[in-house]
Subunit: 327 residues, 2 copies
């Protein structure tokens, strides 16, 4: 089962990385495995900061007593190659972190604008693919992401609690040169990786129920076909944004090519009480729509259409419910 | 749901500790939360070492750059008050770790022999209750354990992946005085505790499927009654050890009062191939019996009768299968 899951995870990650396996915890546990194994005390870490989860990356790097430098952009925007290059060449960091699919803003940044600059100064790149994996192109190898992690419950539509990670050979070699052991035993990448190697060296007791669910979820991705799945999410997202725009909502992410397909982040029309709308959707339609996180709390709606929800019929139903409750 | 689960967890832990909640990972993630929040770099940590999981505690304390001192006893034995007191008074540690229910050996140590000595030198005591919780008395408050953790899949018989922890006021006050933040964000006890407080401040995405299972599992403990549940495990264990002894097996833990009720650890009779016996039990009877861990690998059988397996009928079936496959 583990071997089959690893092969299917490589497919959705778009990588040949041998070290592609599952972290025993939420997406944030996988984020922490990425940070605490590859960031050592005193290292310089450059964070591309444009949302809630780049702040979390910052905090985790600081917990490793790294020297963190940030390039900040307003939430909802992404970074261009020129500014990314100038920042990295000025700072010359050991490790670079960015968020490919930022769930707090709905922004999508494939990554190559950042990774090309990072590799010129020999930095490792950590890419947060929590929201992108399984719903739109992640393409680690093509985008040059050295260490990537995700979660179970978004694009893969499995129960939460078991989180994919993928680490390339370049990063793995760097890990072997760590001066001191990681500060966590539970999230030591080398120990967890050994559990997935053919000898399956005991590390922790696996959450077997979640393994079976993930196995099935990955099989469903394979059966649908990864590109067909992307296309389904792309179409459903376009339908949603188009419908919301007609209802007077305005996308937070201005350029369509920088938007996550399966997560619409929209500002409500003037005068609309977004909290009351969300409450009515939940009570009357059993539809759970999120508000913004952090600085966007109360200012935007975040509407996910992922996995089984990413169909024309479901999006139509959702738009109908929103229209009804706006009246 | 969280509030009800916390109340029922306090019941099985035998505590009034307000900070009794769930760690998002395996039992070892809860062990690591206990160690990395309460052990700071340079602190002296005293480990009572008599099995595989006291070795794991040692490794985790070393990862926090603590100065670890150990009192070792042969695997299968427990510690007396006199030797515990002498060790602690000589070493005067900041933190003491011991294992109440040691799954690698089948030994049970309630803890007061250790905690009384530890509190005389103002040390905090971490008690590993992974194997004891829900099947036999844990009694944190009576035994003086300051920080305890467990798992889902043993005495509570829930799916693995979500792990109880309980921290008393004395330890919580010590935590507030930490000089520096913990090295892990994911396992920062204060952040996870806040998620369980009435404001439910978002920390990680919960494994909702496992929460529902734990909720039901704890309800079943309450319905059965905690003391009735203990008694059921005690009777089933006595029946198992008695039957195994009649078949020529010898308990590893010599004194009955030091044995876990629901986990028999036995040396096979001379000439019996334990690996072949376990293989036949698995293939012909669908019964999975474990071998020893670490230094006891291949030397003992470890036979758990927990939760729904701790009945006269199930133990009788198990003993019948072992008898049949020994012939």
């Amino acid at each position: 089962m583990m071997k089959e899951m690893q092969a299917r995870l490589r497919l959705v990650f778009g990588t040949a990385n041998q070290r592609t396996f599952l972290v025993p915890g939420s997406g944030s546990s996988a984020m922490e495995m990425a940070v605490l194994n590859f960031v050592e005390p005193g290292m310089k870490v450059a964070i591309f900061a444009n949302g809630h989860f780049s702040n979390r990356l910052t905090e985790m790097a600081e917990r490793q007593r790294a020297q963190v430098v940030r390039l900040d952009r307003p939430w909802g925007e992404v970074f261009g190659a020129e500014e990314a290059g100038a920042f990295i060449e000025r700072e010359r960091p050991h490790v670079v972190g960015f968020v490919q699919g930022e769930t707090s803003t709905g922004a999508y940044q494939a990554g190559s604008a950042i990774t090309q600059a990072a590799h010129r100064v020999d930095a490792l790149v950590i890419g947060d693919c929590v929201t992108s994996l399984g719903a739109m192109p992640v393409e680690l190898d093509r985008n040059g992401i050295d260490i990537a992690y995700s979660c179970a419950q978004k694009g893969l539509s499995c129960p939460a609690g078991l989180s994919p990670i993928s680490i390339n050979e370049r990063a793995w070699e760097r890990l072997a040169k760590r001066a001191e052991p990681t500060w966590s035993w539970y999230l030591d990448a080398r120990l967890v990786a050994k559990y997935f190697e053919p000898a399956h060296v005991y590390h922790h007791t696996p959450a077997t129920a979640l393994y079976h669910a993930m196995y099935e979820g990955l099989l469903m991705v394979e059966e649908e076909g990864l590109e067909a799945r992307w296309e389904r999410h792309r179409r459903a997202g376009a339908q949603l944004v188009s419908g919301l725009t007609q209802l007077g909502f305005e996308p937070l992410v201005s350029k369509p090519e920088n938007r996550l397909w399966h997560l619409a982040t929209v500002k409500p029309p003037a005068g609309l009480d977004e909290a009351a709308l969300r409450q009515r959707l939940l009570e009357r339609h059993n539809i759970d729509v999120a508000t913004g996180l952090g600085q966007l709390a109360g200012k935007i709606l975040r509407i996910g259409v992922m996995g089984p929800l990413a169909t024309e019929e479901r999006v139509g139903y959702l738009l109908g419910a929103i229209k009804q409750e706006m009246q």
